[in-house]
Amino acid sequence: MKLAVMVNEGPYQHQSSDTALQFVKAALDKGHEIFRVFFYHDGVNNATRFGVPPQDDRNITVQWSELAEKHGLDLVVCVAAAQRRGILDADEAKRHGKDGDNIAPGFRISGLGQLIEAGIQCDRLVVFGD
């Protein structure tokens, strides 16, 4: 199956991102295609590279980046939600006059159209939220 995944909550506050990650891994192991993972609402907070969670527990952002690299996943962060919450790439930072950017490797910022497109193109869109 061709699957799309939506992550609506930030790391640690809710289990949603962990569960989505486990789901994506399991789906890939079963030979399914993950067309896109779309981060919306606080889900965009999964995409900051400045998180320094305690060493004795998982680093959710790094897990996503590593999984994306290993499988060529398309991790998309909604631009509107990201702007609201201060997740920026270099272009966005420049455009809005901010003195830094924080996006983690493997994530890209784009529009909500990417979510709708994923819904249209895929067999299933699975939402992980609260």
Binding site: N8, Y40, H41, A80, L112, L115, I116, I120
Partner: protein
């Protein structure tokens, strides 16, 4: 899936309008999604029914009152807005407490008709079963 095919999209709203951002941001998805010409409907259940209440005044909380946006959905050809009967009743509400959302039926000489359809949980369950894509906020 052949090119240019149309899918049934349902946007499910379960949260009250201002305590969290889900209501506002889900509306943003609906508006952007409208450009993709899919078969769209909205569902409001649990505390989501509060999103459609008439006479919202947010001056006391310093937040933008975004309830007028629901009125433009008809212009975006979104005219099936399902509201769950049991959720209204559990909150002491009726359809009369909600905004009058209308659309113009192009198949009926542009007659103005109500977009809100009150449905039971069982009916909503059947409707969900018909969808290709269910986005839940």
């Amino acid at each position: 899936m052949e090119e240019g095919s149309v899918k049934k999209f349902m946007y499910v709203n379960r949260k009250a309008p201002y305590g969290t951002i889900y209501a506002l941001e889900s509306l943003e998805v609906v508006l952007i999604g409208a450009a993709f010409d899919q078969d769209v409907c909205l569902a409001f259940l649990d505390d989501g029914v509060y999103q459609l209440m008439d006479g919202q005044d947010t001056t006391g909380i310093g937040m933008k009152n975004f309830s007028p946006i629901y009125n433009v959905l008809g212009d975006y050809e979104i005219n099936r807005i399902y509201v769950e009967k049991e959720s209204l009743e559990a909150r002491g509400l009726s359809v009369d407490d909600l905004q009058e959302l209308m659309y113009e039926d192009e198949d009926d000489d542009w007659a103005e008709k109500p977009s809100i359809r009150v449905v039971t949980a069982a009916e909503l369950s059947d409707l969900m079963d018909e969808q290709d894509v269910v986005l839940s906020f």
